[in-house]
């Protein structure tokens, strides 16, 4: 792998940037691998990278039915934060945030992690109580989160309407300074390039059609490019997790929904932090390109269509223009949808499955991007050791049987 550096940039400038090496190979699948990861999104590629880097397992294939990074890692609103209420979630998301802080250096790829701070606004008394409680809980878990009064919010984000003219006025906000955004495509590409350099085969246009089982354990996968054997398989397929689980003979407590997002035309810098409102339900940040990136909640009905109903967009636009009157005349240029796997307790499922050798990482719902590095890190550990790491042990599939749910509804700071 050729290292990216200022020197490499200057050297390649001499040849008009025509001689940059490809970032990853497109190999033919081998007949057998030590580990197969299904899904070349952020979490899947991160898993493959950490398997190779942390555990020395290099004979790994990442199978992708479409193109690398074409699913939710390229469709999210790029927000990174770790201000979750419960201890289990705080440990998982804070582990990810610590990895974000050095990720560009680790991967030698600029993922443009930008700790510009995340505001979670409160608009009613229960929001205020929940927000204050969450900030205190975060501090006990060593997470940089604190409470801001309305005038402090106004100082931080002057274009926000904090007047009493709002139907649901801003009564305060939590603030996590280390939260922010990252360039989502670069995360997928950076992990792909780094994993490929360590020997991982990334195989695109290769859809898994069934999962082969022998005496209670997985022995490989049938794909559109033939059978590929492996004694360990990790499913990291987000919205399509239930489809894969059905192939392996078990059910998951997941429902797939469309989650839509949209961007505005690019404008000059106007918003230098991330603003989220769970109560009137919109969140917004400004990308480095200048467009506003806007999201909110899922469409109510199950869907695999990667698109949703327009009234959901209308609802979040109403909330946006209420909070930011300055955006009222901005034109929106593009909307899209992704298929998200929503779990009953708004927490992910990372661990073993009823089938031996088969592991699953799913249920991230509407908020998986922020966890990408940590998710890959703990899932690689789980696959390498055959047992979950202490951080992801509480996020087992068995919790739905034992009742030890990790209920992050609302506490996750956005409504689901």
């Amino acid at each position: 792998m050729q290292r990216y550096s200022a020197w490499a940039l200057a050297r390649n400038a001499l040849s008009n940037h025509r001689n940059w090496p490809r970032q990853w190979r497109s190999p033919e699948p081998k007949r057998h691998y030590d580990v197969i990861i299904v899904g070349a999104g952020g979490h899947g590629l991160a898993t493959a990278y950490y398997l190779a880097r942390n555990h020395g397992i290099n004979n790994v294939a990442v199978l992708e039915k479409g193109w690398l990074g074409g699913g939710n890692v390229g469709r999210n609103t790029t927000i990174v934060r770790s201000n979750y209420l419960l201890d289990e979630s705080a440990a998982l998301y804070e582990h990810a945030l610590k990895l974000w802080e050095t990720l560009s250096r680790d991967l030698n790829y600029n993922v443009m992690y930008s700790p510009r701070g995340v505001l979670n606004l409160a608009h009613n008394l229960s929001d205020v109580r929940a927000g204050r409680r969450r900030a205190e809980s975060n501090r006990l878990n060593g997470i940089d989160s604190h409470w801001l009064e309305p005038e402090e919010v106004k100082k931080l984000c002057p274009i926000l309407n904090t007047s009493n003219s709002l139907r649901y006025p801003v009564l305060g906000s939590t603030f996590q300074p280390r939260g922010g955004t990252a360039r989502h495509d670069a995360v997928a590409w950076g992990y792909a390039r780094a994993a490929d350099a360590l020997g991982v085969d990334i195989i695109q246009n290769c859809e898994v059609t069934s999962i082969r089982r022998e005496s209670g354990a997985v022995s490989g996968v049938e794909t559109t490019r033939g059978f590929i054997g492996a004694n360990k398989v990790g499913l990291v397929a987000a919205g399509h997790s239930s489809v894969l689980a059905e192939m392996a003979g078990f059910r998951l407590p997941l429902q797939s929904h469309s989650l839509q997002a949209l961007v505005s035309e690019p404008v000059k810098p106007v918003l230098d932090t991330v603003v989220m409102s769970g109560a009137i339900h919109v969140y917004v940040s400004q990308s480095d390109k200048g467009d506003l990136v806007i999201g909110a909640g899922i469409d109510s009905y199950n869907s695999y269509a990667q698109r949703g109903s327009f009234q959901v967009i209308e609802g979040q636009m109403a909330a946006l223009t209420e909070l930011f009157p300055i955006f009222a005349r901005l034109r929106m240029v593009r909307t899209w949808g992704g298929v998200v796997d929503v779990s009953p307790d708004a927490s992910p499922i990372i661990g073993k499955t009823p089938l031996g050798g088969l592991f699953i990482n799913c249920g991230w719902g509407t908020g998986g991007f922020k966890a990408t590095p940590g998710s890959g890190w703990v899932f690689a550990w789980t696959i390498a050791n055959g047992e979950p790491h202490a951080i992801n042990a509480p996020f087992s599939l068995e919790r739905f049987t034992t009742g030890a749910l990790i209920d992050e509804h609302g506490a996750a700071a956005v409504a689901h």
Binding site: H240, S242, V243, E246, R251, L252, P253, L254, Q255, S256, S300, Y301, N302, S303, Y304, A305, S309, F310, Q311, P344, F400, T401, T402, G403
Partner: protein
């Protein structure tokens, strides 16, 4: 936006309705007799097919009655609407 054909009110816009998730779930007659795994299966595990899916909707801003919809989750196309207590009709795709 979906246009949903309420069995009592006729075709109306999706915003008048709420989706109630998977249809034909039957509460176990004797919950006390179930193992934890069986109870979890009833409470949390759900079908999540890529394709035909039978689900419940309620016309909350209209007649406020529940009914079933057979819908394709790949295309959002509604294949059939039928009343509570009825089984999903046979339809050609």
């Amino acid at each position: 936006m979906l246009q949903i054909d309420c069995p009592w009110c006729g075709p109306r816009e999706e915003v008048e309705f709420h989706c109630g998730g998977q249809a034909h779930l039957v509460r176990p007659a004797d919950p006390e007799a179930l193992s934890d795994a069986q109870w979890a299966d009833y409470l949390f595990m759900r079908d999540n097919p890529k394709g035909r899916f039978a689900e419940r909707w309620v016309h909350s801003a209209g007649c406020r009655r529940w009914f079933n919809v057979l819908r394709d989750t790949r295309t959002h196309r509604i294949l059939a609407v039928y009343r509570m207590g009825e089984q999903p009709p046979e339809v050609q795709s």
